[in-house]
């Protein structure tokens, strides 16, 4: 299955992926309207290590998703390999935030949880972080499945 992977050797730490993500999932057609004056809650987060190396982290769509198992509302599920969240069911208990070992589920600013759904539910067509990365540091490709 295709997933999002990072090539940290090419990550510039520009954080554009975070903004492209927030915009792609805003449901709006204009980035300014979507993001200006707002705190963004992107589903992908840029980290920086002690050597200044940066890279973006988003949901791994893991084989054994503890977030799905932990969701009290049954809002998280895995369909065709993609872990998705039904926002209408989420009550914002944030248990998923507490259990995700990658820190990839985040609160969306309105009290409910959100996570990368590979831009399958928005109008982006392909993951916005990948499309918008200026240096090819985020790729969407099939690297097989976990053992």
């Amino acid at each position: 299955m295709k997933r999002i992977y990072v090539k940290e050797e090419w990550c510039l730490g520009c954080h554009l992926c975070e903004y492209n993500c927030a915009f792609a999932n805003s449901g709006m057609t204009d980035m300014v309207k979507a993001l200006r004056g707002k705190t963004i809650y992107p589903r992908i987060q840029v980290e920086q290590d002690e050597n200044g190396i940066t890279y973006a982290v988003s949901c791994r769509h893991c084989k054994d998703p503890i977030c799905v198992k932990s969701c009290i509302a049954g809002a998280l599920s895995k369909k065709d390999g993609v872990i998705e969240i039904d926002h209408s069911k989420c009550v914002g208990c944030l248990t998923c935030v507490l259990v995700c070992p990658y820190g990839a589920v985040i609160e969306d600013g309105s009290g409910v949880a959100q996570k990368c759904e590979l831009c399958m539910k928005n109008n982006c067509g392909a993951p916005a972080c990948v499309k918008g990365c200026p240096n090819g540091a985020i790729v969407y490709e099939d690297r097989g499945e976990a053992e």
């Binding site: 791994r60 509302a73 070992p101 990658y102 690297r143 097989g144």
Partner: protein, 412 residues
């Protein structure tokens, strides 16, 4: 074709059904459901009161869940007896059901300590089930004064749920602080302050001595008038049916990592069990939703002949009130060191012992806390990570290059 029977219809039962079907697509599954509702997760009831969800959306799984998984549910039935020798269970209507593998997901029940005059109170409720909740909803009006006995997870979530529907809420607890089972004094004080700011009143360090109609008198002499009483003192694991069948039971049904009880072909999962907490290396009842599902799933896989173990259980809680959250996990074993960072609106307390993170208490904005939880669950030696950075915030950057490469460059 194997016959599977599950007593109970909560989240552990749902996990069990999914666990069975991940191995055996054929066998018959019978679910004994005391409640008339398809599986839902109990903690949702406070969100129902708060109108963040409704009866439809509360369903833990899709409407077609049981049909899709080939499970038959006997609604409104309870199991009264297990005969482990003949591998049969008896229902409250006298029917017998044979099983090849049985899973007890009997959950827990509210525990009400003896209190004088409780029988004189008309409007008193537990807060465990949908039916409790619907009854409570009927009873409250915008003019209601609500007294909640118990400032634990259930009592406080009930308070939050009722908050906008009633006139006043008073919560009392014998313990001197709120959420005494998961928070220490300092964290509890911050949470209490937040709750008080939102209009919840507290009477702590004392319990109700006696009731008279709609009047309560506390041990310390405080008197409270109320219209609705909610009893949320605590819960007890429902262990009787296994105990009576000769199974090993302490405070909960004793199960191993495979979720087997001491009786052959009888498994147990969820709030009715006690099991090993790796963060404190003790056995305890950890009535927690994520663990219930994982136990149920583990039991299901093993019942169907697969192999699964739930061998890294830890207590953990994500709870929030009026937008202010608290995440706790693990334990604070004797002799542990604490790292703390705090300001007016947040607390970060990490507990460390023997080069391991054993637990944490976090209040405020919750961000990526699962990275900490994984450290406890995986018992990661802190000398192998950059703990100084982790203390500042949870981040994969502190977990070392090898780990980062593993989780970010390949499928996990």
């Amino acid at each position: 074709m194997k016959k599977y029977v599950i007593i109970g219809n909560g989240v552990a039962a749902a996990g069990c059904i999914e666990g069975i079907r991940s191995v055996d697509p054929e066998g018959s599954i019978t679910v004994i459901s005391a409640e008339q509702h398809p599986v839902y997760c109990r903690p949702l009831i406070s969100y129902y009161l708060e109108q963040k969800t409704d009866l439809q959306r509360m369903h833990y799984r899709a409407e077609s869940f049981y049909a899709d998984h080939g499970a038959e549910v006997l609604y409104g039935r309870t199991a009264t007896e297990i005969n482990a020798d003949t591998k049969q269970i008896v229902l409250d209507n006298g029917d017998s059901i044979a099983y090849d593998a049985l899973c007890c997901c009997t959950g827990s029940s509210p525990f009400v300590p003896p209190m004088q005059g409780l029988d004189t109170v008309d409007n008193k409720f537990s807060f465990m089930t949908i039916d409790d909740t619907l009854a409570l909803e009927q009873a409250v009006t915008p003019e209601s004064r609500v007294l909640i006995i118990g400032a634990g997870l259930i009592g406080l979530k009930c308070a939050e749920g009722l908050h906008s529907r009633v006139k006043s809420i008073t919560v009392c607890d014998l313990a001197p602080r709120v959420l005494s089972s998961i928070l220490d004094d300092k964290c509890a004080a911050m949470m209490q302050k937040h709750l008080e700011k939102n209009g919840i009143d507290f009477i702590l360090g004392t319990s109700a001595k006696e009731f008279c109609g709609s009047h309560a008198v506390m041990q310390n002499g405080t008197e409270v008038d109320f219209d609705v009483l909610v009893l949320a003192v605590g819960v007890r694991a429902n262990t009787a049916i296994v105990k009576n069948a000769g199974g090993n039971v302490n405070r909960g049904i004793v199960v191993d990592d495979a979720c087997r009880t001491s009786l052959a072909d009888i498994y147990a999962a969820g709030d009715c069990t006690e099991y090993h907490d790796i963060s404190s290396d003790t056995v305890k009842v950890m009535a927690l939703m994520p663990n219930a599902y994982m136990q149920g799933h583990t039991a299901g896989v093993n019942m169907a002949g697969g192999e699964a173990a739930f061998d890294n259980a830890i207590p953990m809680n994500s709870i929030g009130f009026f937008g202010f959250h608290c995440h706790t996990a693990g334990s604070q074993p004797e002799g542990c060191e604490m790292y703390e960072e705090t300001d007016e609106n947040h607390i970060r307390r990490l507990f460390v012992k023997d080069d391991k993170l054993t637990g944490f208490m976090l209040l405020g904005h919750m961000h990526r806390t699962g990275i900490y939880t994984a450290l406890i669950r995986n018992q990661t030696p802190l000398s192998s990570v950059d703990f100084a950075r982790l203390k500042i915030e949870p981040q994969l950057a502190a977990m070392g290059n090898a780990y980062r490469d593993k989780v970010l460059k390949g499928a996990v």
